[in-house]
Symmetry: C2
Subunit: 288 residues, 2 copies
């Protein structure tokens, strides 16, 4: 496995793959790799001739009071995990090379970016769209892989790619969970034992929503009320948002229909966790 | 020469050129081609194996009260000019395919885009950056060609390409002028005979600025004052802006130095014309 830190060198690698008619699968990450990332890498490995993984804790997607500094970093461990998955290139650019002095260009996906996580984290999705756009330009992958856990991010990337005619196929893979249901996240590392137990309430609220939808409840306000009720029972929890949205537009739904997605963000102590669950499959989203 | 109207088909052509190891030169235009465009096409023809020209009157770069509707369109004439220059592909997408219903993604280059033409035409450069980004993604040219007449546009495109790591070389070619000095522009077609005579004042003001700079005048305020004075002598003229800026950042300069660029936008009757001239070569800009 090659470790590349330089943008121009990364681009040359990608040009060489193209010249050799090799397809490129790409998994952009912020490191602190877990089984969720590895599931993306394995799929990329199966579907492409070459696999590139990037590790870049992107300052542009963190707010001034967020966890950029304390976000877990462990390149040595991440690199051995990638090597074990037969990744061809691990791309680890510096922040100074990604955003050199005088940097000024940003990609925004309007509408999607101002709601839910975008409302709680102003500028977050602009940072995400911009860095993914840049990485796609440097690596020019045939396929890029994202996790459904970050559903809003995945929807924004898909929309950006379609709107800007970027020549890449975006694949969104199912959320990988702990045996008890907690969605894997690098931020789970912030939780102490008590918080880890309380964090399960995100999964429990989503399961409750799905049961209600299956039972035939159509009124999303009723579902959201019940979800909020059980989350609030944990003394360590603070709700950021609980919503039912259309999975392809992220606009709120008043009634359950095809493509309905329950989404939530909850603080457990000082850690903000997100998760989501499809309540009724279908719509454009099913094409994944 | 192929005429392609479909985005997917255009992209397939570009992929095929790459497979054959042929380089692509690209000239994006809004049609109503004149010798300025042709100079770009000829250079593209000399420097690349294949040449693509696009004609797209981009609604996203026109304000609500601007000349989108009356902008000159003559595909038949444009196509024969391109054929005569041995263009390989003329790409003429529809507005509905470039901006389908629900379109939401925009590229902005901050700082550059809010001054001068950007201040007079809010949203203009966002529209320009977005459409050029899209065209680059569809066509993936090795080299793209722009005219120095639209200096601010060219600077913004160069900045976007650098910031977003787009794999294309942007070339900015000298303004082509009428024998008397008027910069070629598709909008010159709007001028009646009297206005055409008055329009020469843009060139005269720029030449005055250059003479003053050569004579050693360093105070840009003094130069701007003199430029405004001679423009105001034409009863049909109305100044939008007259400035001296750094050619690579488009920030105003108080003193003449390397890379100083005089820029102006002037209404002649109902037609807004722009032009510019380097007052002292050098700086990053000279790398062109």
């Amino acid at each position: 496995m090659k470790l590349i830190r330089n943008i121009a060198q990364m681009h040359r690698w990608s040009v060489l793959q193209r010249k050799r008619n090799l397809t490129i699968g790409f998994v952009p990450t912020m490191g602190a790799l877990h089984e969720g990332h590895l599931s993306l890498i394995r799929r990329a490995r199966r579907e492409n001739d070459s696999v590139a993984v990037s590790i870049f804790v992107n300052p542009a997607q963190f707010g001034p009071h967020e966890d950029f500094k304390k976000y877990p970093r462990n390149l040595f461990r991440d690199a051995s995990l990638c090597r074990a998955e037969r990744v061809d290139v691990l791309f680890v650019p510096s922040a100074a090379s990604v955003y050199p002095a005088g940097y000024k260009t940003y990609v925004t996906v309007e509408g999607f970016s101002e709601v839910l996580c975008g409302r709680s984290r102003p500028g977050h999705f602009r940072g995400v769209a911009t860095v993914v756009n840049k990485l796609f330009n440097v690596i020019s992958p045939d396929r890029a892989y994202f996790g459904q856990k970050d559903a809003q991010q995945a929807a924004i990337i898909k929309k950006m790619v379609r709107d800007l005619n970027m020549p890449v196929t975006v694949k969104v893979l199912a959320t990988v969970r702990e045996p008890d249901g907690l969605a894997l996240s690098s931020r789970n590392a912030y939780l102490n034992a008590g918080e880890r137990a309380d964090a399960l309430v995100l999964w429990q609220a989503l399961c409750l929503a799905r049961r209600m939808a299956k039972r035939g409840v159509r009124d999303t306000a009723q579902i959201i009320r019940e979800m909020k009720r059980i989350i609030s029972q944990k003394s360590n929890s603070r709700i950021d948002y609980v919503e039912v949205v259309d999975a392809s537009t992220f606009l709120p739904l008043r009634e359950i229909r095809r493509g309905a997605l329950a989404v939530l963000a909850v603080w457990i102590g000082k850690t903000r966790l997100i998760d989501n669950m499809v309540l009724r499959p279908g719509g454009e989203y099913a094409k994944g």
